[in-house]
Amino acid sequence: MFARLRNDFPILDTRVGESPLSYLDSGATSQKPQCVIDTFTEYYSQRNAAVHRGAHSLAVMATDAFEAGREAVANLVGGTPEQVCWTKNATEALNVVALGIDRASHGFGGESAQRFNLGSGDSIVVTEMEHHANLVPWQQLAHSTGATLRWIPVTDSGELDLSDLDTIVDETTKVFAFTHVSNVLGTINPVDTLVARAREVGALVVLDACQSVPHMPVNFVDLDVDFAAFSAHKALGPTGLGTLWGKSELLNALPPVLTGGSMITTVTMEDSEFMDAPQRFEAGTQPVAEVAAFTTAVNYLAEVGLDKIFDHERDLTRVLLDGIAEIPGITVLGSAEDRIGTVAFDVDGVHAHDVGQYLDSQGVAVRVGHHCAQPLHRRFGVTATTRASTYLYNNTEDCERFLTALAEVRPFFGVQ
């Protein structure tokens, strides 16, 4: 099945100079199957109209397409369609939560928002392996409210060090935000353990699911998280679309950050009443074509099966890790058993940018830099790494082409 579905991704036929393309940068963004690309043409040529307004037939079709997306996502990650709010991207989704809490802490949102109230004496807990998108908004929230920011450290093996979990997450902790899967190390974090501790102290749980939802079966209801965020473009969908998932009771109490049209019930010259989620967080014209395309992507993933995708990528990860171990001078960051196909490494004597350039000359696309996780890189004593990341369309040849090119890097730069 996986050999066949590779043909669904036209971009994989691209040649880079004289080499075929081996795309190992899906951790940054995934490629799109033809059916997702076609949805844009189909939507704009047959269904395009403003959603949630207008009584004409096209408007009804556009609204149906828009709302069908929520249902598809709810089927994928659990919950009901009302729990799925569209955002510009996952970063915005996390900011909507952090800034909503900030507004609640400054008196917005009335009585029901007071459950989010944060001040000095309270703490926010994150981890040392967060993507900047799930770190910077919490730093800002701490600065704004006077709350303390704490973090769970990372071990040499690239896992969360939970030995002091009970003192780091304590009775003062109001928000516990962490990533499901590290975008650098590939480590899958023990969400159950972390949620259990959050429940003991009554903290809200915010899950960054950007690297988990595209690669493995995930159910936010089963995980019992309060809020979760992920992006469409890493899961075969288009850019410009993210998802904020939340428990309805919490979503409906959280003060919205973006306000304006389409999210209100009554507006007077003095004040306004807001709708419940999801519209509450969807002010202004929404990315309807993107939602339609993402619906196609979600259905595609569901048809292949996230469990099968996870197994396929696990096999590729083995090939990558075993192959890298044979090449002198390469150090992989982290060694967690429970992981996805994201492998970041340091090449002794050669800067990541130069590694990436060489691999590119051989048709291998990887990410170089700090991958928006500077503190994690600092933790491992490096400023930048090279990262290979797999997806369902990758095959063993991609991995082997990568390994062959990687073995040539140090000789090319004259490093022994």
Partner: protein
């Protein structure tokens, strides 16, 4: 090996990235002459440079720097330091302008070796849009540090 890669990583660039000229601790206020320093960072890859210029009363100019980054950024800082040794302040201003022009030429210019010395080897880099900022990192720091040194001269 593709010719593009050979154009990018010319031997002179690889040599400078290993044997780095001017790579020395900064003197700060211990510097004898008018001086300035600048810290530049490339936020996309984390490449970093701290560069200091010191002006001599005879119109000479000294560059010292510490940094961490890719071969292109480190070689560029080394070449810059070498050119500073060979040029007066006035000459360096011309070199800086010419190097800037070369890096934005998208590979259409050869680079005048008479003026640019080893920096002419960076003409191949200008074909790689993602790497131009690597080559320019130390030069941006140089311009900033030089401005400060000149300001302190006037004071």
């Amino acid at each position: 090996m593709s010719t593009q890669m050979q154009q990018l990583y010319q031997q002179v660039i690889l040599d400078h990235s290993r044997e780095r000229i001017g790579n020395a601790d900064l003197l700060g206020d211990m510097a004898a002459g008018p001086h300035g320093s600048s810290h530049q960072i490339n936020p996309t890859c984390g490449d970093e440079i701290e560069l200091e210029t010191e002006l001599g009363s005879d119109g000479s100019i000294v560059v010292r720097w510490t940094g961490d980054g890719c071969s292109i950024s480190m070689a560029s800082a080394s070449v810059l330091s070498e050119l500073a040794e060979e040029n007066t302040l006035e000459g360096m201003l011309d070199v800086e302008a010419k190097f800037h022009e070369l890096m934005h030429s998208r590979g259409t210019m050869a680079g005048d070796e008479e003026i640019l010395g080893d920096a002419a080897a960076f003409s191949g880099v200008s074909k790689f849009p993602a790497r131009i900022k690597c080559a320019l990192l130390s030069w941006v720091a140089f311009k900033d540090a030089l401005n400060q040194a000149q300001t302190s001269l006037k004071e």
